[in-house]
Symmetry: C2
Subunit: 251 residues, 2 copies
DNA sequence: ACGCCTATCCCCAGAAATGGGGATAGGCCG
DNA sequence: CGGCCTATCCCCATTTCTGGGGATAGGCGT
């Protein structure tokens, strides 16, 4: 449809992706950019067992039905070698490089071989990960007899990243009805140390309080969030940004 | 506008970043691209308390010394609002959008104000996250009286992403010791229901297992992640993308 | 001064989780 | 085939958490 070249393709795609308000819009935009960049297929997906958790995950693609059925039958969403490799890098990679990135098992090689037999040759995958959300990626692929257009890979990198973010926006990955309880400083401190795996007694030592006081703070924090267990308290506190993964993992 | 000169800048930078074998090389390349894109500053960093965990983290920048000293004094590596916001998205964002992305505290506003007073105005931050590694980002900033060059932000997005990956390569972040444990299907199921606040007994009812089996699955999951408490297990499973907030909150 | 929030401390009983030790059965892979 | 992983079940003792009930003290605003 559109004749685009170089960054013109990119500019056009960003406009489409930004305006897309439905997954159908995004599929159309991806099909367009994928075609213009010289690819045969695109696939934007969360790395989940799609059959089991379909409603919470996004998957947009124009892969052959036969391949998708085969993929889902074997529940490859999380164990697919390309998906696994995409968890080892922050930018896009061609599938030729997968063996350098992860240890391929016999099963992985079998998966790649089967993909080839079903029309999927080489490809380029842009990983996308947001802490607290399912890992995902946006891939562009060519048929077995064709080569990945290496010259435009930076553009594919951009398109993949923008497309994934558009998918997050469209599918409300971050939307959340307000009602965010406020915790006191001490309650937050206790929640943070709790999320780090400390017992009430240990938190008491760390903060210089009595064990009873820490228990009380966490009890009140649970009450404010109206959750029954500290594991949910940690999750909710993370989701609301009360504490962050960096907070928890820093030493 | 995305101009041919913009594309030229990008091409040149990718070459430099790919060839860079030391952090000094990368700093030089970043300074060059930052300048050419119309920014005054760049900062590529892991979101950690740099003073405390400097050896394991990367930080390359050309910020004013005064600002960095102020930043480190307050250990803002993890709580800096821009860093926190970068954990809520998969692509770059201008700092003006931070208030839409996270809840700003009074302290956050103070931090942003102080940055302004120390020569840092608006900016554009590209998040970079690899499961199992510290979150990080690559930012480009302008002085308070200048505007972020919005037209070239896609190029900044690309440059930031490539620069971060180059930093990972140069600093050997691709170590396999940051392993993400694999859980079995059942273990994952149990972790998910646990993160939703269910007791072992309840999970057993839900999954049609005995309470002992659920206890066992969660025990083994904790062992694989080498964590002592289910709250940490929930946090780690979230961080690694094994389960997601959408999984937990969907009903 | 009074109400409200916060932080701190205390007690108790019962439920739940943790950390050991086991066993059986099926599937997959070399 | 024999070893390894997985899923399922079971027992035990101890620790930890949860959900009730309290108390004292300071700060803050009206």
């Amino acid at each position: 449809m559109l004749t685009m070249s170089g960054l013109g393709i990119a500019r056009e795609f960003f406009g489409l992706a930004r305006q897309a308000s439905t997954n159908a819009d995004l599929v159309q935009a991806l099909a367009c950019v994928s075609d213009n960049l010289g690819f045969d297929y695109f696939a934007l997906a969360h790395h989940v067992d799609f059959a089991a958790a379909g409603h919470a995950a996004v998957r947009l693609h124009n892969y052959p039905d036969e391949w998708v059925a085969w993929f889902d039958d074997r529940r490859l969403g999380v164990s697919d070698p390309v998906h696994r490799a995409s968890q080892a890098t922050s930018i896009g990679f061609t599938w030729q490089r997968v063996p350098e990135m992860i240890r391929l098992t016999a099963k992985d090689r079998y998966v790649l071989q089967c993909a080839r037999e079903r029309g999927i040759g080489d490809g380029f995958t842009v990983p996308a990960h947001v802490p607290g959300e399912a890992t995902g990626s946006c891939s562009f692929a060519v048929e077995p007899d064709r080569a990945v257009p290496v010259d435009i890979l930076p553009l594919a990198q951009l398109a993949g990243a923008f497309a994934f973010e558009a998918a997050r926006r469209i599918n409300g990955m971050r939307s959340f009805d307000a009602h965010v309880p406020t915790l006191t400083e001490r309650q937050r401190d206790c929640v943070l140390w709790m999320a780090r795996g400390k017992t009430d007694w240990e938190i008491a030592r760390i903060l210089g309080l009595s064990q009873e006081t820490v228990t009380q703070h966490l009890k009140q924090a649970r009450e404010r969030y109206d959750v029954p267990k500290r594991s949910v308290l940690a999750v909710r506190a993370l989701f609301d940004g009360l504490i962050s993964f960096s907070d928890i993992f820093r030493r």
